[in-house]
Assembly symmetry: C2
Homo-oligomer: 213 residues x 2
């Protein structure tokens, strides 16, 4: 595949949305779709769609449109969804438990291997088939198992400490739910889900719309 480098973060952030819409089309047995039809569904312009997909290779055919299943397969591969990822969750509080219980991720090839917590009351319990282990075992677990992604769900005060342990143990990808900006080595990827910032954006927009009414 002619995959081009230096793809902007803006494009990268749109790709999962293509995946979501194409998956729905495939589930509804749609065989092919033009960039105009896709545009109507997804809300990006047709030219935006053609440009985005061009970043990743030569999809689509003039006058025919996109073959849905083929494009879906290629976008899955671009997103790395054709592989399996071993994940661990650190922090079995509200968010950690919700993520652990969310079977959608499991179906999407993210395989939860262990959950870690500091709370003795939680250690030994199981969420689905996965046991909650003592956070003291975190380092040795990472060293003895192949872990691709660590999901940080600890309170903000503990997040950087946990981050230091896991990155020095070899973790290269972090999905971070703690409301802090983690300091990581250059070769470690962090994707943040900052819920409180999202909620503040909403309250900002709500107020702004009232002011301009």
């Amino acid at each position: 595949m002619d995959r081009k480098k230096n793809i902007s973060m803006a494009v990268i952030k749109r790709i999962p949305k293509y995946y979501r819409y194409l998956k729905e089309l495939a589930e509804n047995d749609v065989d092919r779709i033009s960039s105009n039809e896709l545009s109507e569904k997804i809300g990006f312009t047709a030219s935006q769609i053609r440009q985005d997909l061009n970043c990743f290779g030569d999809f689509g055919q003039q006058g025919y449109g996109y073959n849905v299943k083929e494009l879906l397969a290629q976008i899955s591969s671009i997103l790395g969804l054709d592989k399996e990822y071993n994940t661990i969750i650190i922090g079995a509080g509200n968010i950690g438990q919700a993520i652990a219980n969310y079977t959608y991720f499991q179906r999407m090839s993210f395989d939860l291997k262990a959950i870690f917590d500091i709370n003795p009351k939680l250690i030994g319990l199981r969420i689905r088939d996965v046991s909650i282990e003592d956070i003291d075992n975190l380092e040795s677990f990472i060293k003895n198992n192949e872990v691709d992604i660590a999901i940080i769900c600890v309170p903000k005060e503990r997040a950087q400490g946990v981050c230091d342990i896991i990155t020095s143990s070899g973790i290269k990808a972090i999905w971070n739910f703690a409301p802090v900006d983690l300091k990581v080595p250059n070769d470690v990827i962090v994707e943040n889900v900052h819920l409180s910032e999202s909620l503040m954006t909403l309250s900002y927009l709500l107020n702004e719309s009232k002011i301009t009414e």
Copy 2:
């Protein structure tokens, strides 16, 4: 306050981050900070910071920097955090329960008034002090109570239906956790938290970094 209009979404998305850092500074009794010092902490350039804050008014003083408490108060007000918001959660599954249990939002002036679910086993239970009610009562609850923000945590198949009910009952702001793009009237604000898209972005970046290694 000289608040300017047409502020870009990129700026708006950065404001909660300023709030988070300024709050930490205030909690650590820091009285004032220069844009250069703030830049080191927050990771935006000093000129970016000055430019961002200028969108909202005339903060800071040449040679003195920003008065932390004053700037924090003004940013709180810009974000609408000096007001109270009545919220409801629709969907008491994993994510809905996690949000309901997350007391941080309560402290941040988002007041959870009710939770709705379709599952008879959940109806009547309480999360913290808030009871889970029958989703059949959703419409009348919104009409009889002042609800500012609805938090949608139902499965994707039900999300648009719930959205239609709440917007036609008068809801103007939605925090949406369902993995769909909701269709709403023009005067309704939607802020999405698409967890699976975030996870896909991470797996994309992880693969990209392996490819370019």
